[in-house]
């Protein structure tokens, strides 16, 4: 029956895509930890100029495009699992989607405009997404014996559609995305446009 499978499902098999997204999720955690450590070290140095300052400037300049990239990959990954693969999103999945889908566009605009003030609007939404995805990841890792009020028999919240490395589930991936996007927005700094520089000179 493999030949009857849709083209995209054959092109992007779940055996490849799930490890891919799972490794990206783990890299998100590594990057978030690196940003936290960098922030702590920088605090200890009290902003003295050095290589760390230069790196911080570089990361600050890249943060908005990177956060937008994460939002786009998260959105496409989510659509992959429901449109290419036949996984029906549960109620909790939908709440997480609501928290990330709009930012695939909004963060793109913010990155284009170099508008780091977007963090004021985005981070509260990501915080909500983080809470929901953390809860969802938890009940997939440790399903409650009496079920949850979000689950239905048809579309349960506790079914692990993805379970890579014995702990990476779909909500865990979403949580990873929310965490790194928040961290990136916190370090994002506005950069002047080259055109603006020309004008000022």
């Amino acid at each position: 029956m493999a030949s009857d499978e849709p083209f995209l499902r054959r092109l992007l098999p779940i055996e490849t895509m799930s490890p891919f997204f799972a490794i990206l999720a783990l890299l998100c955690w590594a990057a978030s930890a690196a940003l936290l450590v960098g922030w702590l070290v920088r605090r200890a140095q009290r902003g003295r100029p050095g290589r760390l300052e230069t790196l911080r400037d570089d990361v600050g300049r890249m943060a908005l495009p990177l956060a937008w990239l994460v939002a786009v990959v998260t959105t496409l990954g989510s659509l992959y699992y429901s449109k290419v693969q036949p996984f029906v999103p549960c109620e909790l999945c939908w709440y997480q989607r609501v928290c990330v889908y709009p930012f695939a566009v909004i963060l793109g605009i913010a990155a284009w405009r170099r508008d780091s003030a977007i963090r004021v609007y985005a981070i509260p939404v990501f915080a909500v997404g983080m809470v929901i995805s953390a809860y969802h990841a938890w009940i997939q890792a440790y399903p409650p014996s009496n079920g949850t009020s979000f689950c239905t028999a048809d579309v349960p919240c506790t079914t692990r559609y993805v379970w890579e490395f014995e702990f990476v589930s779909l909500p865990f991936m979403a949580l990873s995305a929310f965490v790194i996007m928040t961290a990136l927005l916190l370090v994002a700094r506005p950069t002047p446009r080259p055109s603006a520089l020309q004008e000022s000179s």
């Binding site: 891919f20 300049r61 890249m62 028999a153 079914t159």
Partner: protein
């Protein structure tokens, strides 16, 4: 006043210089990130290939020697019921009026059209498992039970029969026979008709649904949802002894 324009110029130059230097270093960071994603992709492809080559073995007949769901592409079966349907099982907690009732005789067919019958009596306890191909709980439970059957088989004095019901051509895993074959399902399976006659005859209220029947054909207990190993063992014990698990 005369110094002001030159101060502005030097300030802008400084920002411009910093921006230029920053741009070249951020370019390298972007290149590094792209390379990292390529490496992740290569690793994922390698992992995917190894896991799919491993899963090829999963479609073979079960090591318990059971009968893998036979070939056949029937989408719906033909089902007749002799006797009274069991009352619908309660959802959640509540007393089950079906307990103690005798199950009806259900005559149907497998995916290849061969006859499958569920009937009371026969001197053995039995478990009837009702599954729907689109139900995620069933998709999770079927391979789990298959692995337990592969490990320990069924007790000699208990039989297990599956009813594949709620067949929906617009949903995943249709027809159910393909799905069960992919899982290497080794349990005799009756394909329900479009009216879900077989599932309704045993009072199905959710999926997967389990009816435990004693050797005389009377219902010992009914339950639904995913089972863990201890619950599965308790179910088999209840079918064997005719006593519902009180824990």
């Amino acid at each position: 006043m005369s110094n002001r324009p030159s101060r502005q110029t030097s300030s802008a130059q400084r920002v411009r210089t910093a921006s230029k230097g920053g741009r070249s270093s951020t370019l390298w960071i972007w290149i590094g990130l792209a390379a990292l994603i390529v490496v992740v992709g290569v690793v994922a492809i390698a992992v995917g290939r190894s896991s799919s080559s491993g899963s090829d073995d999963g479609g073979a007949a079960s090591s318990s020697g059971g009968t893998v769901v036979p070939n056949g592409d029937l989408e719906y079966g033909t089902v007749t019921v002799e006797g009274s349907d069991l009352p619908p099982a309660p959802r959640g907690t509540g007393s089950d009026e079906g307990v103690g009732e005798t199950i009806p005789t259900i005559k149907g067919e497998a995916f290849d059209g061969s006859a499958v019958t569920i009937a009371p009596g026969g001197g053995k306890g039995q478990v009837i498992m009702v599954v729907a191909h689109w139900c995620p709980h069933c998709q999770a439970e079927v391979p789990r039970i298959q692995s337990w059957l592969d490990e320990d088989g069924m007790p000699d004095d208990v039989t297990l029969t599956t009813v594949a019901t709620a067949n929906d051509p617009t949903a995943v895993n249709f027809p159910a026979g393909d799905w069960l074959r992919e899982e290497g399902w080794s349990v005799p399976t009756m394909l329900d008709d479009q009216e879900q006659t077989a599932a309704l005859a045993v009072g199905t209220s959710a999926y997967p649904f389990f009816v435990v029947v004693d050797a005389d054909g009377k219902v010992v207990e009914r339950t639904s949802g995913e089972l863990d190993r201890s619950q599965w063992d308790a179910l088999l014990e209840a079918a064997r002894t005719g006593q519902a698990d009180s824990t």
